[in-house]
Amino acid sequence: MRYLSRKLGFYLVALWAALTLNFLIPRMMPGDPVEIMLAKLGQKGPVTPESREAIEAMLGTDSSRPLWAQYGDYLAGLANGDLGVSLVFFPAPVSSIIAQTLPWTIGLIGLATIISFLTGVGLGTLAGWKRGSWMDNLIPVTTMFQSVPYFWLALILLFLLGSVWPVFPLNGGYDVYNVTPGWNGPFLASVVYYGTLPALTIILSSIGGWMLGMRNMMVSTLSDDYMVTAEAKGLRSRRIMMRYAARNAVLPSISGFAISLGFVVAGSIITEAVFSYPGIGSALLQAVGGNDYALMQGILLIITLSVLGANLLVDLLYSVIDPRIRARG
């Protein structure tokens, strides 16, 4: 119970820090969002003082009020779920844009992360179990894929499988001309077809890390005394591998998996930029391109919340799968 309350306390502090950072970044940075927007408007024609006030009201940065009062307004707005109004997608509120784009991101990157984790850990288990076999030598190859910059790998795969041999579509989330979004067969099939190549690039570039981590933990676990005991008892090697070695070796990978699940929303930005995927990363980039500060802050908030949520979930899960954690407090 003490473990639980400590963890919850930490996440409350982290949440507060993230919210405050989210509030402070726009106000601390040298470029003032209001000034940037005024400068853009100024290129098109003269700017009246009223329009400055209007922009300040829209961004929620009334510069005449003290900082702590702005901070109070900001927190009150968040508590009501009010993230402001988007500029790029005017007049849509930020929350509705997030609701539109988030499912795409979670579907694509989330599934790809899960597939990559399961395959990587499975292969890593085998590589660690049969150390020095051909599978063990596969590890440097997969690490090569990891050190290749992700977008470069994605661009080249897109070029090869999209342009040279047109197996997969070049961009987008579904076939916009022939199917209607909704729970119908053609739409879902189109989503899967359009998502395969992006998912493949994510899996290729991330599987090496899972494999290497799991393999190294297997190797460490295999030299523990209880492994010798298990072998001395005459257990089947399959049982030793799965129940004795892998069960203990997988623990650090699971905590890594949690962290990467949290970064599903955050890590999607480059993938979505390469494939023009209609997810939250594309929305963030559009916000950056259009100086849409409300949308930027809103998306940053969602990303932070998802990271915090995933970490909390895993901390709670971890105390179930590894009872030693609870004892240690």
Binding site: A14, M29, P149, I156, V219, S220, I269, L300
Partner: protein, 314 residues
């Protein structure tokens, strides 16, 4: 008398074994590739043409005048590559150094001091750890219009040191309760001396591996940021080269000499640092070292002999 002599001889033996990794094939390959690329970044810019000079020979394939061809606006790709190597390495070096300082301070000093300082540092580290780096970097870049290479490096370092600090804290916690540290405390050594002379040398391999990892992360992170058009303005890095190549439709036009070299340099440098890190990992965790295929060959036992030996022990 003879006994006393042996004692003096034993004392003369150096107390610490140098923790240099054994020179394996992996390590040698990694060091050679990383060294060559660093050398290219240091000397290359002195030897090549002006990377920004625009010419009317856009998108020409490699030739004697332009060894790696030209970009869309006739700039020499080799010259750009040399300056880009320098730029990317600067980002990597700055982030590596900052990570070393920040993670060392918050990870090692906090864990060694203990008490409320450790609690506070650890909480701070964990808070920074769960704040996602890339989106924050993107948003910060969006607010600052003129970005120097150093600013990009600074922002990358601030958002990436926390993981290393957590790893270092764990090791320091385990080291500070070892018997030999307690013994030196009883012997009346000063606290800073225990930290610098007794604990720090045992953390060096871990620190090295964290710094190498931070350098890989920084160079790839900078490339990603530049690819999105949010990298350093007015300077060359591998990322900005790829960004311009992408915008110049190098891929569609089949100008491989433009987009392959920077990507290849990134991949080679990343792979070289990974290889170095594998070797450092084997110092930190000796269990990873033994019983590779090469080691087994060293025992001069055939597969048949190993099988027979295993059968006889089972």
């Amino acid at each position: 008398m003879a006994a006393a002599d042996t004692v003096t001889v034993n004392l003369a033996v150096p107390r610490r074994r140098p923790t240099l990794p054994p020179m394996t094939g992996k390590l040698a390959t990694g060091l050679i590739i990383a060294g060559l690329i660093t050398l290219f970044g240091l000397i290359g810019p002195l030897l090549v043409q002006d990377p920004a000079k625009i010419d009317d020979i856009g998108l020409t394939p490699p030739s004697a005048d332009h060894l790696l061809g030209t970009t869309q606006t006739g700039q020499d790709v080799l010259a750009q590559l040399a300056y880009a190597t320098r730029g990317s390495l600067i980002v990597g070096a700055v982030v590596g150094l900052l990570t070393l300082i920040l993670s060392g301070f918050f990870g090692i000093v906090g864990a060694y001091a203990g008490g409320w300082l450790d609690e506070a540092f650890s909480l701070f580290t964990n808070v920074v750890l769960v704040i996602p780096g890339l989106p924050v970097v993107i948003v910060i870049s969006a607010y600052v219009a003129e970005r120097s290479l150093l600013l990009v490096a600074l922002v990358l370092a601030i958002t990436s040191w926390a993981g290393s600090a957590r790893v270092l804290r764990g090791s320091t916690l385990s080291l500070r309760s070892r018997d030999y540290v307690l013994a030196s405390r009883v012997a009346g050594e000063r606290r800073w001396r225990i930290l610098l002379v007794e604990i720090l040398p045992n953390l060096i391999p871990l620190l090295a591996s964290q710094v190498v990892f931070a350098v890989i992360f920084a160079i790839l992170g900078e490339a990603g940021l530049s690819y999105l058009g949010l990298g350093a303005t007015e300077s060359f890095t591998w990322g900005t080269m790829l960004y311009y190549a992408q915008n110049g439709l190098a891929l569609r036009l089949g100008a491989w000499w433009w987009f392959v070299p920077p990507g290849l340099m990134l991949a080679l440098f990343g792979a070289a640092l990974s290889l170095i890190n594998f070797s450092i990992d084997e110092i930190i965790n000796p269990k990873l070292r033994n019983q590779t295929r090469g080691a087994r060959r060293g025992w001069r036992m055939s597969r048949e002999q190993i099988r027979r030996a295993k059968e006889s022990t089972l």
